[in-house]
Subunit: 366 residues, 2 copies
DNA sequence: AGTGCTCGTTAATGCGCATTAGTAATACGC
DNA sequence: GCGTATTACTAATGCGCATTAACGAGCACT
């Protein structure tokens, strides 16, 4: 018969201090003079079925408190229960040094909502699974430690996500996503919001409006373009193929000359999409400055999203705000529902219009 | 002889799809014609001791691949008696809406270092343990589910922290801290950095320098004051009790008149400490503006810390930078050492001097 | 007194994996 | 030809918890 081995256990203070390891249910049970099963029933027991006398319950609670007992999340999980942990997985560092595309605003909402529902958050990182980036095919599977997981970032590996979804693991992507079929997501309603921006511009008298977007087919870009085009249509404006300008190399091609050309062609308003990097908007602003154009006067500008932090001030861009905290909160709500086995869905969050100061009445045609 | 019950297992695909649950090592073993233990050895085996023939190893790997086996992290962690989780506990929301005192810069370092060491992060929040704020007396107990925990924020409850420390739970506070004796911490070397700032000012010819600080006896404030006084002493300057000005209500008492009075008394440089709120510096700046003083010309200003994000630009304050990411990383290193049972300590992180543009040579006395 | 309850508690079991003692098989030495 | 290494693998065990069958005690009826 193998003797119980003594493994080195982390969490146990080193020898001299004489301290013991984290308490287990067994120790609580001993102290309370009951069995381990009883402890489990008392502590785990939000449930009804439990028939525990008030006296016993109290003894157990006291013992647990005095020992500072806290259940082991892994064991809880393994025993087919929940551990009240929600994962957050980003496909880049969650806290990038480059303050640009950070998930901070989402996390504000995520934290609040999770806290309100009694969940703690586990931050997983793409890179942490090996430092060398892509890691194994199980990079994502670490999230299974939690009851469910939120996914942030554009470049989620579809294949591995599909696996999680197929296994019925509760997963929610922040941002619209078609790829792994069946993956739940919450997203901002870019279509409606973009539509509205165009409608407002049209109401200001603009007849020729051009969308500047990145040359990337992320859903976020597609949605904005769709809303933009629908907006044009709704306003009875022509929507030719040259209504949309794609910038492969934004800084290079979006030149002051380009701007002049548009103006000459009758364009009076430019709409840029917001992205991680803020490239289109940045390029637009600098081109306008270089060309020496008067922004609300000669040319109206709008931004389909929130401006990057570093140029949020001064002329507040006309456009719409992405309610990121609300998005984060909505994601947590959805995830919590999935974890609970419910079938909730609340995919779209509305983006309020932001008046700003970069759009004005269309200038009278020469 | 209890019959194996069939529990509803999360992570198992629901019935109709006909999917079977994801494979276990046992299935891989069956397919490869070996035992579960062998599978574990092959798959888990970064270790040396394992004696596995190349042929068997390959069979197992093939089988695992063909079944798409991924290990269950919960089981892995349970069996390994470690969960590779480090806690992060803030005494306010970790992601405050108020962008002022955010822990973001720390988290950058914390995430990086934790990732590099293969730890995931559990985010606890003061409020998450009950919604209604203070929660039970065991609010802090939750952190025990991690292997160790980082504490952020000024207002950590000493009593509960003491409990954790006494139990040998690995805990590290970010920021110097005496209170619960034995609590490990990492902090910025405010003393040396403040000392240096004063030395530099003295080198510029300033003879009378006043420190503006909050009326709070946090270690961070105390340290700066100490460094400030030592700096004066080192430069052979007088350090009377009126060298330090405490602002109970900063905006109110730090008036332009106050400034004038200092100037009249021969003060040529003011040094403000940095705090969560940035109050002292903010008050100082606005008083100087109101008084219509020429900053580097008539009066030199220095900030003992990094400026708040919203007024980081324009005249970059002379002073020192707090290397928060490095602090976060150092905290994780220390915590990891404690978890491993080592006795490492690396408490102080140096703060580099920032030349800035708010300090210049002392004006010639009239 | 015996039968049928309900109530409170415990013993037993397994989740999926890592670990170690142990066994079978082959190689080596004299 | 028999002990001793060495190699390649398997059986058995437990991590900490949730779950459930089973059990003893008390009580109300026949």
């Amino acid at each position: 018969m193998a003797e119980p081995r003594k493994r080195a256990r982390p969490g146990r203070a080193p020898g001299p201090s004489g301290r013991t390891s984290r308490p287990r249910q067994a120790e609580v049970a001993r102290l309370a003079g009951v069995s381990q099963a009883t402890v489990s029933l008392v502590l785990g027991g939000k449930k009804q079925g439990a028939a525990i006398s008030a006296e016993t319950r109290q003894k157990v609670l006291d013992a647990a408190l005095s020992l500072g007992y806290v259940p082991d999340p892994a064991a809880r999980r393994l025993a087919a229960a929940r551990n009240d942990l929600l994962g957050v997985f980003s496909f880049t560092a969650t806290f990038p040094t480059d303050v640009q595309h950070s998930y901070y605003p989402f996390l504000v909402g995520v934290e609040q909502e999770a806290a309100a529902r009694g969940y703690d958050l586990v931050l997983f990182t793409g890179s942490s699974s090996g430092g060398a980036g892509a890691a194994g095919p199980d990079a994502l599977s670490r999230v299974r430690l939690a009851d469910g997981c939120l996914f942030l970032g554009r470049h989620a590996p579809t294949k591995e996500l599909r696996r999680l979804v197929e296994d019925g693991f509760p997963a929610v992507h922040v941002g619209r996503r078609d790829e792994p079929e069946g993956l739940a997501w919450v997203g901002a309603d870019y279509v409606s919001a973009s539509h509205e921006v165009v409608t407002r511009l049209a109401a200001l008298g603009h007849r020729r409006i051009v969308l500047v977007r990145e040359d990337d087919d992320a859903p976020a870009s597609t949605d904005r373009e769709r809303g933009f085009l629908e907006g044009l249509e709704g306003a009875g404006l022509p929507a030719g193929p040259d209504s949309v300008f794609r910038t492969a190399d934004p800084a290079g091609t979006l030149s002051p000359e380009r701007l002049r050309a548009w103006l000459d062609a009758g364009v009076t308003a430019l709409v840029a999409e917001e992205t991680d990097t803020g490239c289109p908007w940045r390029a637009l602003r600098s081109a306008v400055d270089e060309a020496g154009l008067d922004c609300p006067g000669e040319l109206s500008l709008a931004l389909l999203g929130s401006p990057p932090a570093d140029l949020a001030a001064e002329p507040v861009p006309t456009g719409f705000d992405i309610p990121r905290p609300q998005l984060g909160a909505a994601a947590v709500r959805l995830l919590a529902a999935l974890v609970a086995g419910e079938e909730a869905d609340e995919p779209l969050v509305a983006c309020p219009f932001r008046a700003g100061a970069t759009a004005g009445p269309a200038p009278h045609r020469a």
